[in-house]
């Protein structure tokens, strides 16, 4: 369901230059670290050198004595250092679980890089000098580095309650019977790795004490609602904490959980001074939460025509040392693990376990993308088994509107997979020949589904304020953090569309928990759906509020009044907003509107049974194809061509949509070919950009986005989310192409040159 506007669009659908791009290209945008206040302190973190150890002693006396040091804080200095969170996703066998989050390590460190202490000093140099003098005595504890081992009897415990964080199980139909009766069964294991968000902007923020004792944190974040979590940590009322999100230099889920915020807030509370914290790239790579690695076991059966009969799926994910969003990530993985395919018999056993690795949490794709390697690999294997073209086998199984996923969700919007597959095939042409002797060319295809919008039983909502100034210019106030995906500029386009105002005459204020209406997190590909609908609603309601007055001034019937060209019009007559609002002011007709958009909800999760059914508002579907050439001697891969087709419902800004697709594909290529966090007994070895290999302009291929607009999505103007979906289909497409070139399937990510050459 979306707020539907039937009239042909004027600005929606146009590739407008984003309003924020102007300042960004000129270097004028003030990101979190580009901000300062007089008397500002600099804060740094003392982090654990070991992955699992008791803290026998943390001696900060010498550190405190360094000239210029204002404060050195440890766990005992934090009013509420440990927060317990309910973790959904327990079967009755396991029972309910509460997960611990610590601000600072309290007696035990559980991952390499876990924060132990905060130093705040007048200069960065003094802070670092002080850091070196913090004396920590560790007692090493046994290290758990494998989630399957962690779940075995007798494994060292990361947390006292046990190493299982969450588990989702389901069995639809009768998988064993179906496997026995099948024409073909393929069985394979797949493995994905830890990766890092690697946004260009490291974690950063500045905090200060504002009027009325409001602790204000201006930080690179995707979630301003964390003011509530900060209030809890500081033991102050919610209304005494404010979070501001400036434009963020990339998030991808890595700035969804709190990063610098709690440390900044604590120092402000203790010292009363403003304080800045910027993480080094090393810190970020070592200790910032990562993507969940997953071990996938698939058994997939089909009939003689290639129609799926059964999927038997096992998922074991590495949640790292703290739960964070692991249970939800696993839910996404579970829901999507059957792929965008119909299957009558599905059994899923999904678990996520604690280990002494960096905590894993949100990252673009959020569990639904890791499983794509599994379900697409299975489709390729079945196709090979049956001698069918890989895309043809998929076509015979594509979900359609009206089908129901194993989890119980019936698809009630258009599923464009066939159309996407058609377009990709039409664009592909014949497979190219190798460029020189010894090289091999491979072609792979992959389809995927990715939810957009949050789980329905979270009863999501978003609010927006839209209003005119007396001179007829338009203002939008909305709490949305803009992390680079054009979150704010889409809203400008929508407001301009509804009210007939040129987007250049619209100013948008975003991301302030005290001053802008809250709109929820910039995560889960939900912002266009949620804040977009909220703005559409607010602007629409405002328009209707002004319509009677406009009709009067234009001497027209209310229904005949159009809002266009910076005012209201009827035939040849036009009244500019400046004059309309002046009249409204005299008559006490409101010229602004606050509105709340409520997503269709669901029952709150209460029991094992009630998580089934409708889980997500909707999905975005994709079909990708890749041609690549490889050098078998060196394992080097050149991507010759990459096609990425997605149904976006409606493209609010087509250029933005392409940009999201292209960026996600390159991120997916890094995931497929070169990115991995490497641990040795729990010690993270990839602490520099020279070691953590994200694609440069040279590795990135030319990408051809194919944007389909089916006109059916639940976002504004029937749009679907596009931020996350493209990232999931990339590794599977590459896996298929490699299998085509090598004659063997690689199943462990990333497909490094060494692994390709050894294949």
């Amino acid at each position: 369901m979306s707020v539907v506007d039937e009239r042909p669009a004027r600005v929606v659908g146009r590739a407008l230059v984003r309003h924020d791009a102007l300042e960004k290209v000129a270097g004028r945008t003030r990101y979190a670290a580009d901000f300062g206040l007089p008397g500002m302190l600099h804060a740094v973190l003392k982090r654990a050198d070991l992955p699992h150890a008791r803290l026998l002693r943390v001696d900060t006396s010498a550190a405190k004595a360094v000239p210029g040091v204002a404060s050195v804080l440890t766990a005992k200095d934090v009013p509420e250092n440990t927060v317990w969170v309910d973790v959904p996703g327990q079967t009755f066998q396991v029972g309910a679980l509460k997960a611990r989050t610590n601000v600072l390590a309290d007696g035990v460190v559980r991952y390499h890089g876990e924060p132990i202490a905060i130093v705040a000093a007048e200069t960065e140099d003094a802070a670092l000098a002080s850091l070196e003098l913090i004396d920590v005595e560790y007692e090493e504890l046994p290290v758990v580095t494998d989630p399957e081992a962690a779940l075995e009897e007798g494994a060292p415990l990361v947390h006292e309650q046990g190493n299982l964080i969450a588990s989702w199980q389901l069995h639809e139909g009768n998988v064993d019977a179906a496997l026995t009766a099948a024409h073909a069964v393929v069985e394979q294991s797949y493995e994905t790795q830890f990766v890092d968000h690697a946004y260009l902007e490291p974690e950063a923020g500045v905090a200060w004490l504002d009027t009325d004792g409001v602790i204000t944190v201006r930080a690179a974040t995707q979630v301003i609602e964390h003011f509530r979590d900060l209030a809890r940590i500081l033991r102050v009322p919610d209304n005494r904490v404010r979070v501001i999100a400036p434009y963020v230099g990339g998030g991808f889920g890595g700035k969804e959980d709190m990063t610098v915020e709690p440390f900044l807030a604590l120092v402000v509370q203790r010292t009363g001074c403003p304080v800045k914290m910027v993480w080094s790239r090393s810190e970020s790579l070592l200790a910032r939460e990562k993507r969940h690695p997953m071990k996938l076991r698939y058994r997939t059966a089909c009939d003689a025509e290639g129609r799926l009969l059964a999927q038997d799926i096992g998922i074991v994910a590495d949640g790292g040392a703290y739960a964070l969003l692991s249970a939800l990530v696993l839910l996404y993985a579970t829901t999507c693990s059957q792929g965008p395919y119909r299957c009558p018999n599905v059994r899923i056993d999904a678990r996520v376990a604690y280990t002494n690795h960096t905590p894993a949490s949100a990252m673009r794709g959020f569990g639904a993308m890791q499983v794509a390697l599994g379900y697409e690999g299975q489709m390729d294997l079945l196709a090979a088994e049956l001698g069918l073209d890989p895309l043809e086998l998929r076509r015979r199984n594509f979900l359609e509107r009206g089908d129901t996923l194993a989890v119980g969700q019936t698809l009630d919007t258009h599923v464009a997979l066939s159309d996407l597959a058609d377009r990709v095939e039409a664009a592909l042409g014949p497979k190219p020949e190798p460029s020189k002797r010894g090289r091999r060319v491979g072609r792979g295809v992959a389809c995927n589904l990715q939810p957009y919008g949050r789980c329905v039983w979270l009863n999501d909502w978003a609010s927006a304020w839209v209003g005119f100034e007396l001179d007829g210019t338009l203002v939008v106030r909305i709490g949305v953090p803009d992390i680079g995906g054009g979150q704010a500029s889409s809203l400008v386009q929508l407001a301009g569309e509804v009210l007939g105002v040129d987007p250049a005459d619209v100013v948008i204020h975003i991301g302030d928990s005290a001053l802008t209406p809250l709109t929820g997190t910039t995560t889960a590909t939900r912002q266009l759906y949620m804040s977009g609908n909220a703005v559409l609603q607010a602007a629409g309601e405002l328009r209707e509020e002004l319509r009677p007055l406009a009709a009067e001034l234009l001497e027209a019937e209310p229904d005949d009044v159009e809002f266009a060209g910076g005012g209201a019009c009827y035939g040849e007559r036009h009244v500019a907003f400046r004059d309309l609002i002046a009249a409204a002011a005299k008559r006490q007709v409101p010229w602004h509107r606050l509105s709340i958009f409520r997503a269709p909800g669901g029952d709150a999760w209460r029991s094992e049974a009630s998580w089934r059914g409708r889980v997500f508002p909707d999905f975005t579907y994709g079909c990708h194809a890749v041609d690549l050439e490889l050098d078998p001697e060196t394992g080097r891969i050149d991507v010759l061509r990459y096609l990425a087709a997605h149904d976006v419902g409606r493209a609010i800004n087509p250029q933005s949509v392409e940009g999201q697709i292209e960026g996600a594909v390159v991120m997916g290529l890094g995931y497929a070919l070169s990115e991995r966090v490497i641990y040795e007994d729990g010690i993270n070895l990839t602490g520099a950009f020279a070691q953590y290999l994200i694609p440069t302009a040279v590795e990135a291929p030319e990408i051809e986005p194919i944007v389909v607009e089916s006109g059916e999505g639940v976002g504004p103007f029937s749009a679907r989310g596009i931020g996350e979906p493209p990232v999931g289909a990339v590794a599977p497409a590459v896996a298929g192409a490699l299998a085509d070139a090598l004659g063997r399937r690689l199943t462990v990510l990333p497909f490094t040159p060494e692994r390709v050459a050894e294949a």
Partner: protein, 155 residues
């Protein structure tokens, strides 16, 4: 020690310690927050500046090594009210998303075109290998540089 240099044409004379990088100096003492800290290793290019007309990573130069030099940031080439042609191309082609890499990309590209190292797409990509971007996938950036190169009539 006292450091004297030009930053975007403005003469500065500031006390600075030897261990302060040019990046830190520019951000903390010269008010040039358009030069970004991205990695501190000389890999990501977010801190690209021109040092006597040569593009360098400010994080990999000590401020004292810039004594008497002219440092130019992206601000020397264009501003919101009057953009450099390359900046115009970047925003019109949707090549700016989070924007953090953008100032570095602008300078890296200007140098590439100036040196004649933007002749075709692969050469442009090689010239931009030291400017990492995590948002755009580079495609629209490369198109923008091509378009700028054609405008300049350069090779």
């Amino acid at each position: 020690m006292m450091l004297e240099l030009l930053v975007n044409g403005r003469r500065l004379r500031e006390p600075v310690e030897p261990h302060v990088t040019l990046l830190r100096f520019l951000r903390d003492q010269a008010g040039a927050s358009e030069v970004k800290y991205g990695c501190g290793e000389g890999v990501c290019g977010a801190c690209t500046v021109f040092l006597d007309a040569v593009a360098v990573n400010a994080c990999s130069v000590l401020a004292v090594q810039a004594e008497g030099a002219h440092v130019e940031t992206v601000s020397a080439f264009g501003d919101v009210a009057s953009l450099h042609p390359l900046q115009q191309e970047l925003i019109e082609r949707g090549a700016v998303q989070c924007g953090f890499c953008t100032p570095g990309v602008v300078l890296g590209s200007i140098e590439a075109v100036r040196l004649g190292l933007a002749g075709d797409r692969m050469t442009i990509r090689r010239s931009l290998a030291g400017n990492l971007c995590r948002c755009t996938g580079y495609g629209k950036i490369v198109e923008a540089v091509e378009a700028y190169r054609d405008r300049e009539g350069a090779a």
